[in-house]
């Protein structure tokens, strides 16, 4: 009997040690994600600090001339920020109404069977690699825009902000529609039925009851789409211009933060030159802006979840 007890004890101890080891490995694996975030932050931060030791931070934020690669190189990123802003704005003008409209159709009007057919199609749209969108923007959309405006007698660039903005907007449609769809579906049915019972039409119910209820979620989806648009690289690398251009004309070529990052790292400059390091300074700005958008977006969706006590979103 004593022997069995002893064997049992040792097996138990063996299990405990095993448990501890496994737990250790699991914690280590979970910490990789933290390591990655800080890895991204620090790898950008250190190089960016090096850049700002060479060039003034103030001129970087407010300067209007960006001329790398020449003897008296200047790094004023304002035209780059404006280009990014305009292209992103065009993208949101396309994505927001269409994405929201699709989401409302899918959750309010479509029968379950139509919905089941449409959802995978939108998922295909979401699964198209951005390099493919970029090719489409450069080879099909941009020439079409040039041709259309030349009919009106207006000159448009082959690298126009409009072409990349429109295609980027299409890329973002599924992001906005799928999240908005989830949120609209989560609005309690009682609200819908109460409104309809009071004699409101379907559209009035949606516009005045459902959308306001789902608003935090919809804003959250929009911010997420916005952050995706700001960080989108391939479409603008292939379809937008390289020239920093401080202009409001969406038919001119413009450049974005991501294009400049790619351009300064792909060229054969020395790694420690300000030309290369400027990529990290731009990356730092991009990192913080997208991080901020994401944090606000997550906070909004959490608020929505708490309001309606949903755990599945």
């Amino acid at each position: 009997m004593g022997y069995f007890l002893k064997a049992f004890e040792s097996k138990k101890r063996h299990n405990e040690i095993k448990e501890k080891i496994i737990r250790f490995f699991l914690i280590a694996a979970a910490s990789v994600s933290i390591l990655t975030t800080f890895g991204v932050l620090f790898s950008i931060l250190f190089e960016a600090i090096e850049f700002f030791q060479m060039r003034s931070f103030w001129y970087f934020i407010t300067g209007t001339e960006w001329s790398p690669g020449v003897a008296d190189s200047k790094f004023g990123a304002l035209p780059i920020f404006s280009g990014t802003f305009i292209i992103t704005f065009i993208a949101m003008c396309v994505a927001l109404p269409i994405g929201l409209g699709s989401a409302i159709f899918m959750s309010e009007y479509a029968t379950p069977s139509t919905r089941n057919k449409l959802k995978p199609l939108l998922e295909i749209l979401a699964g198209i690699p951005t390099v493919v969108y970029g090719f489409f923007a450069a080879i099909t959309v941009a020439p079409a825009i040039v041709n259309f405006f030349s009919l009106l007698g207006i000159h448009a660039s082959f690298n126009s902000a409009l072409a990349s903005g429109i295609v980027m907007g299409i890329m973002i449609i599924p992001i906005i529609s799928s999240l908005s769809d989830d949120v609209i579906q989560a609005v309690p049915d009682s609200q819908r039925k109460a409104s309809l019972a009071l004699g409101m039409t379907m559209s009035e119910t949606i516009i005045h009851i459902i959308v306001p209820s789902a608003l935090p979620g919809i804003i959250s989806a929009t911010l997420l789409g916005l952050s995706k648009a700001l960080g989108e690289t391939m479409i603008v690398v292939m379809a937008a211009g390289l020239r920093p251009n401080l202009s409001w004309n969406i038919l001119e070529d413009m450049t974005t933060v991501t294009v400049r990052i790619v351009d300064s790292l792909v060229g054969d400059h020395e790694f420690n030159s300000p030309d290369t390091l400027s990529a990290f300074a731009l990356g730092l700005i991009l990192f913080f802006v997208t991080l901020l958008l994401n944090i606000v977006s997550l906070a909004l969706i959490r608020k929505f979840k708490e309001k309606y006590k949903i755990n599945t979103l």
């Binding site: 299990n15 095993k18 699991l26 694996a29 979970a30 994600s33 933290i34 990655t36 975030t37 991204v40 109404p97 929201l100 409209g101 699709s102 409302i104 159709f105 009007y109 449409l118 995978p120 199609l121 939108l122 295909i124 749209l125 699964g127 198209i128 690699p129 951005t130 390099v131 493919v132 090719f135 489409f136 450069a138 080879i139 299409i170 449609i173 599924p174 039409t201 379907m202 559209s203 009035e204 949606i206 516009i207 997420l224 952050s227 995706k228 960080g231 690289t233 391939m234 991501t258 790619v262 790292l265 792909v266 990529a279 990356g283 991009l286 997208t290 991080l291 958008l293 994401n294 977006s297």
Partner: protein, 404 residues
């Protein structure tokens, strides 16, 4: 409908009532029209999204299909010492310009493989120049009048024709359009994805298991949770900066290699795998765990032998979707140099390589018209792989998922 009645009772009683419904709302028609317009707007937006998808796919197929065929010409080829020394001379001067330089360059190798060819002259189907190919496909071409006449003459004699383009699948990249293919990029993609899979899958599943099954609700756990959400939102290009600064500059891994590319993509895919694995683990009912503990199993045993196998289909689905996303990613790979010109297939994960989306990017930037169809064909192949991966994930989910 101009008998507008105020719904006040006084007027209602005194006037001639056509519509004697006391709740009659004169704006009703307007409201219904508005409702119709709104519904039309939502239908139009979904129709736009789907319509774009159809137009886009059709556009790619129309642009890409010609690449699966290639023009060949039938000419006399002379194999002897002289032509091996300078392959240009193997073909009659008249035809030299319409034959692919890449094919001519290959003559010495051809003779080496089959020595019986030496000192003979044979009528052979030879790969044509890309301009000739574009002419045959009815695209924009740049050919001199003399050669154009020659080709038209050859067309009548049936000495020129389009054949299935097997080179596209057996060759790597090339500066000569008719000689370039997708093979080296495909192998690069496979090697990169293997690295990604081997890194992201165990890390992701372990993180999910820790967060769902083991973690106490403390600061560290919350930090990890917030982190994973933020990680998913970091623009992909910034992962490229991480790869460049950490893997290449700090750890000294070989530039442009599938190893660096795979690790960078793994960090990007991690959040997708973690989130879907957590959902899968959460869907396993607690009764399974309680039954295990009741029988005296340890926590590790319960998770390893019962919870994980039950959650496996969900985990697999998420991982496949994550892999599909990693496969289509380009931006971070450009930053770490995976857009180099790679004519030969990489033999290991340490050699310089390119991947399919990067190959598409490179071809899209080429000036020759012949690369446009190759780019579109590459896109067709990439998209069909991605769509089949996603379909596989959906089928897996439907077939294997246990309904509780």
């Amino acid at each position: 409908m101009n008998n507008i009645i105020e719904p006040t009772s006084e007027k209602h009683q005194s006037s001639q009532v056509v519509n004697n419904n006391p709740f009659y709302d004169p704006t009703l028609i307007k409201r219904h029209n508005k409702a119709k317009r709104f519904k039309f707007f939502t239908i139009a937006s979904i129709a736009f999204a789907i319509g774009f998808l159809v137009f886009f796919l059709a556009d790619m197929v129309v642009k890409g299909l010609p690449a699966f065929q290639q023009t060949y010409v039938q000419v006399n080829v002379t194999y002897n010492e002289k032509t091996i020394a300078s392959p240009r001379k193997a073909i009659d001067k008249k035809y030299r310009r319409i034959v692919s330089r890449a094919w001519l360059r290959n003559i010495p190798k051809l003779v080496e493989v089959s020595p019986e060819l030496i000192n003979t002259t044979r009528k052979t189907w030879v790969l044509a120049n890309h301009q000739i190919d574009q002419y045959m496909k009815g695209h924009y071409y740049k050919i001199k009048d003399k050669q154009l006449k020659l080709i038209q003459q050859m067309e009548q004699q049936a000495n020129i024709k389009l054949k299935f383009n097997s080179l596209f699948f057996t060759h790597g990249d090339s500066k000569i359009p008719e000689n370039s293919g997708i093979l080296s990029a495909t192998i690069g993609s496979i090697l990169t994805l293997i690295v990604t899979m081997l890194t992201a899958f165990p890390l992701g599943v372990m993180t999910a298991v820790y967060l769902e099954e083991f973690a106490e609700d403390n600061r560290w756990t919350q930090l990890i949770e917030v982190n994973i959400n933020n990680l998913a939102a970091i623009p992909s290009i910034l992962f490229g900066l991480l790869g460049l600064a950490v893997f290449i500059n700090l750890l000294g891994m070989p530039r442009s290699s599938p190893l660096v590319g795979g690790l960078t993509l793994a960090l990007m895919t991690l959040p997708i795998i973690i989130v879907s694995s957590r959902a899968a683990l959460r869907s396993v009912p607690d009764s399974i765990r309680q039954a295990g503990y009741g029988l005296g199993l340890t926590k590790v045993q319960v998770v390893q032998d019962h919870v994980l196998p039950l959650a496996f289909p969900g985990i697999m689905t998420g991982s496949i979707i994550g892999m599909a996303q990693a496969m289509g990613e380009t931006a971070p790979l450009i930053i770490i140099g995976m857009i180099a010109f790679i004519p030969d297939s990489p033999g290991s994960i340490f050699e310089a390589a390119t991947v399919m989306p990067a190959q598409i990017f490179t071809w899209a930037g080429m000036p020759e018209r012949a690369y446009v169809e190759r780019t579109a064909a590459g896109i067709m192949i990439l998209l069909s792989v991605l769509i089949s991966l996603n379909t596989l994930a959906i089928i897996l989910r439907k077939k294997l998922e246990v309904k509780w």
